[in-house]
Symmetry: C2
Subunit: 347 residues, 2 copies
């Protein structure tokens, strides 16, 4: 299904930036938001601003729910009633931009009454700022945008969401909802939590004034995300609490092991510390592999993939950079893919 | 005592950068190092490169031991024998640039046979690179340089080390050795450990390729220091293992509390989570206070401080930006100080 009109519900940092890029790309954008200044700003930018979700759902081929995760439940309810009013007319594809996917897909299937209208999405983009005033053009360029793959995902709808992400300059990473939630718990939500914990230690410490005088780049880098709106950290942590709690437990066990290795060292001046050395060596390997994966993308190819093929592509570090809308009910989708860097051997 | 000649033992990132700035400042610099390319490069830059520590100790008024902490023990032994050869001639002041101070001061007093010749120093500056090839001019500009204060510190020697730091553009933070070690464990060594732990999680995880595809700014910021030479992280962790282990245990307890708060939440869509919110709120406060302390220095004044006054200045977040060499045996030193920002109220 080719996209003619994109609907956007919520015009904050993500929804607003998406609307700006889509208008620039010549896509018709119909949007709604409760924020007055966003309504005026978006209209001035060429967005067709309407009063309610029902109007968006009625007119769009693809609807992006760009609201905070806590508000997503209510947005899905509004979409459900609007879909009901459509009767037998074709349903637009519904997607979101939330930082957790498993709970959102389960909730969407429940509220919308089917498991195929909704395809989950998550652009890995953002800043510490929020709201329409923070919206900027090019926010998604060269960023990863996860589009979820389930056993019963409609590949036509999947392709429509992928096409949306590609139009604003992102690359698409296919992933099962649970795999996404675990991965972002590690690379996004755990860093948030560690930043908050480290910041809180500096906040409450009796040595805080002296410690602040001595804080250099490493502490500033670690705590940067803690400077954002604290409610955002809470929302993300709560939304992905299962996967994050597991990662926190893993991190805690590794910190225990390091503390134990340090406590067990000989009292000498500079004792051998192989266990301590191993932690820092593994940390460097992880960082080097991250830099390597970014610096050296692998070969490109155009292939036809089924659901399992899309999942496998994402799991081995590959990306989708082009997509052809498949026929309705197709079991494969033709995609242009970038494989991971050759030397990136994890398995 | 006014500095005429500064001795530098070790011409790596810190020693090399210090030598370059001192030569530019018109100070005579006599240095020694085992690294051949450093000898040639330093000589070309105007440093008087000599063959051994004894020659440095014989000619300098102030000797900076700029070697890695594991090598400091050996450097102190060389200095001790050189001092012995001086007989009754006045001893130069000895200082260092190591990231831990308590163990270094204890070791220096033991090896040098007195507790006043050595004054500990720690410039809060560095990059991920090492060696003479990484040495750059201006490395210490506007950075903090800790100069340790003990009950029996010679204020004339303390002023000489402080004057050295000020000459290369740093500001001086007076601190007791133990307070320094605890503060850097929090703001420098804990971030190193968290970066290594997070990097190691990405290194070993079965989801690593997918996770790398989704890693954005927060994970990159968190793990940046993990990309440095892993041996540096090990050295720092081992050198300050007592204070770091305590901070790791504190961080682990806070991670436990956060994981427990997440596990205890109601199964609903977006349950209230006051305990989770409190962690992120405290994290933001800590970060804001850090930014505030940097953005808004307090009033300046010239005052005469005794040892306790210097310690109190550092503990409340103040700095020394100017110093007058006191008379030998003086119990106070005249310093130009910058008080912490007024609103920075921790106590």
């Amino acid at each position: 299904m080719a996209i003619v009109t994109v609907g956007v519900v919520g015009l904050g940092l993500i929804g607003g930036s998406l609307a700006l890029d889509l208008v620039d790309a010549g896509v018709d954008v119909v949007a709604t938001t409760r924020a007055e200044e966003a309504r005026a700003g978006a209209a001035a930018a060429g967005v067709d601003v309407v009063d309610d979700v029902a109007s968006v759902v009625r007119r769009a081929d693809l609807v992006v729910l760009a609201v905070p995760v806590p508000a997503l439940d209510g947005a899905l309810e509004s979409v459900a009633s609007a879909l009901g009013a459509l009767g037998d007319a074709p349903r637009p594809t519904i997607t979101d931009v939330g930082s957790v996917k498993g709970p959102v897909l389960a909730r969407a299937a429940d509220v919308l009454g089917d498991a195929t209208t909704f395809v989950g999405g998550h652009p890995m983009a953002g800043t510490e700022r929020q709201g329409w005033s923070a919206a900027i053009r090019g926010l998604f360029r060269d960023r990863s945008w996860v589009v979820t793959v389930t056993d019963d995902v409609d590949l036509g709808r999947w392709a429509a969401v992928a096409d949306l992400a590609l139009r604003v300059g992102a690359t698409v990473v296919p992933a099962r909802p649970e795999a996404h939630d675990d991965a972002v718990a590690l690379v996004s939500h755990l860093p948030y939590a560690l930043a908050a914990v480290a910041g809180s230690m500096l906040d409450s410490d009796p040595q805080a004034p002296l410690a602040r005088s001595l804080a250099a780049g490493s502490f500033s880098d670690l705590t940067r995300v803690a400077g954002g709106h604290p409610d955002l950290g809470r929302q993300i942590a709560v939304a992905n609490r299962g996967a994050l709690a597991a990662r926190l437990t893993e991190a805690r066990a590794r910190l225990d092991a390091l503390a134990g290795a340090l406590d067990g060292l000989d009292p000498g001046w500079a004792p051998e510390a192989p266990e301590v050395a191993a932690v820092f060596a593994a940390g460097r390997r992880g960082r080097e592999r991250l830099d390597h994966a970014r610096a050296e993308p692998g070969p490109e190819a155009t292939v036809a993939l089924d659901r399992g093929g899309l999942v496998a592509l994402g799991e081995r570090g590959g990306r989708v950079v082009g997509v052809d809308p498949p026929a309705t009910g197709a079991s494969e989708v033709s995609v242009r893919v970038v494989e991971p860097a050759a030397a990136e051997g994890d398995r």
